[in-house]
Amino acid sequence: MTRFAAPGEPGATMSYLPRYDHWIGGEWVPPAQGRYFENPTPVTGQTFCEVARGTADDIEHALDAAHGAAPAWGRTSAAERAGVLNKIADRMQENLEALAVAETWENGKPVRETLAADIPLAIDHFRYFAGVIRAQEGSLAELDDDTVAYHFHEPLGVVGQIIPWNFPILMATWKLAPALAAGNAVVLKPAEQTPTSILYLMSLVGDLIPPGVVNVVNGFGVEAGKPLASSPRVAKVAFTGETTTGRLIMQYASENIKPVTLELGGKSPNIFFDDVSAVRDDFYDKALEGFTMFALNQGEVCTCPSRALIQQGHYRDFVADAVARTEKVTQGHPLDTGTMIGAQASNDQLEKILSYVDIGQAEGAKVLTGGHRADRGGELAGGYYVQPTIFEGNNSMRIFQEEIFGPVVSVTSFADFADAIKIANDTLYGLGAGVWTRDMNTAYRAGRAIQAGRVWTNSYHLYPAHAAFGGYKGSGIGRETHKMMLEHYQQTKNLLVSYSPKAMGFF
């Protein structure tokens, strides 16, 4: 077990600056209105730096830089762009521990996750898009002996990206890597809860990217996010967040006739069929871990398996074992490698989770474990910690229908296959799902019947590049983490060419 020093402490792998400006045109640019906002760490609740509070003027400045850089960047060869992405990945690899500590300090998540998941996945993501852009081909169709249709991929130009706070660097990478690979320039707005880890990343890799190709403007949604999302100067907006802002971004896009990609969350079912408990073996142990995945990243994951559906035959024993497994989850200082669950990302997030614990109990759901704010004492006393919480209830309760975005799972039972699918699909969302069974026919049929973009089968919470991620129903539009995302950042140019010297014969 290792305890990393906090940023800026003696022996720390990284330090944050006391103040961050915008990253525009390859340099640090102070905010037009000269205002900054405080950035607290959820680990202790204490402010550790201040950050530029951007407004429409800063967004315009960033768009100027992006439009200046986009034409040349869009004309670079795929090999050149892939080279830049690979260099970014290499630089991140060299600074993996520093980036992991930066991410943990700003977000509150345990460093074992940032070391083993967030940052390695981000590195691989750059490498993946460096690879697929080299392999992407246009097409040609021989329409007749003299006529050929050529299809070329062209970059959109300048795109806007609004990043969530739950995986600040990884979510930025999910959007940046395909956009850059496809030859676009980007204006990116991080979440105001986690504005600086991305800027720390830019401080490491900024010299590898032509000035103006990536621009980062911080600020509040209403002051900086809205001018970006509603700008007629962006060719596309990508957003990860919640449904009302997603709809608002679509409304702005409709005014400018621009496309959007949206990832808006879910209420993912995690289904455990009776045969999971047939033997107490490695697979049973893996399934219990799969249940406990609701606590990964403090539950602040769009695909949090926040509804556990457990078949009646093994319900009692499986739930007892799942409660025991959950009670073994170690909560503590996020910079301690032994810590499994850290702090919620913000105070309002903590308050929202507790408000759902209240309504869950008011609706008659039973708390099987947890259910309270966790007071960690000492320097962590001001941080935002919640006990991993298991509710038992039914699918019509609010805690089964709304995303709590905390370490809270709602458990219910089902009778048979049809009942499981009915409950699983009785939700407004369709982002993720989990299916656990030793019978691969059941697994296949369940996976196809669940209306969700990704069905983890005998697994959960894997996020490799080259497996498409995105939602059905209210969960959004588009598929990330796969080469198909390239086309969300590209135009199709058709050259329709006649090789015949003869007139067509109409006039």
Binding site: F220, G241, T243, T244, L248, K352, D358, E402, I404
Partner: protein
Amino acid sequence: MTTPEVSRVAVTPAAADLLRELYAAHGPMMFHQSGGCCDGSSPMCYVEGEFRTGASDVLLAALHIDGVEEPVTFWMSAAQYGRWRHTHLTVDVVPGRGGGFSLEAPEGVRFLIRSRLFTPEENAALNP
């Protein structure tokens, strides 16, 4: 009509204070209750008309706040309302950081929904 109208949405004194401040800066306002991840499951506060409601939305309340001339409308998508209709909502405010494009975020605070079940009497009046 003698049956008193049952309130679906209430506002805490702290939230009313904040709405008065926001009204002074922005004018008439509306809420739209969000769902989904990140800042979801919380109400978003906009300048009235900023968010275009339509046939897929339900107007739960027009909140009368002392010192705010125009009622503050409270909307939710109809699909989400179908899952929430058995609960009474109270708009509260807590210290916080950010939240979509909601107007209060730059003030270092965040609107938050607290919920309770409707009483049998309220349910009878709302669903006769």
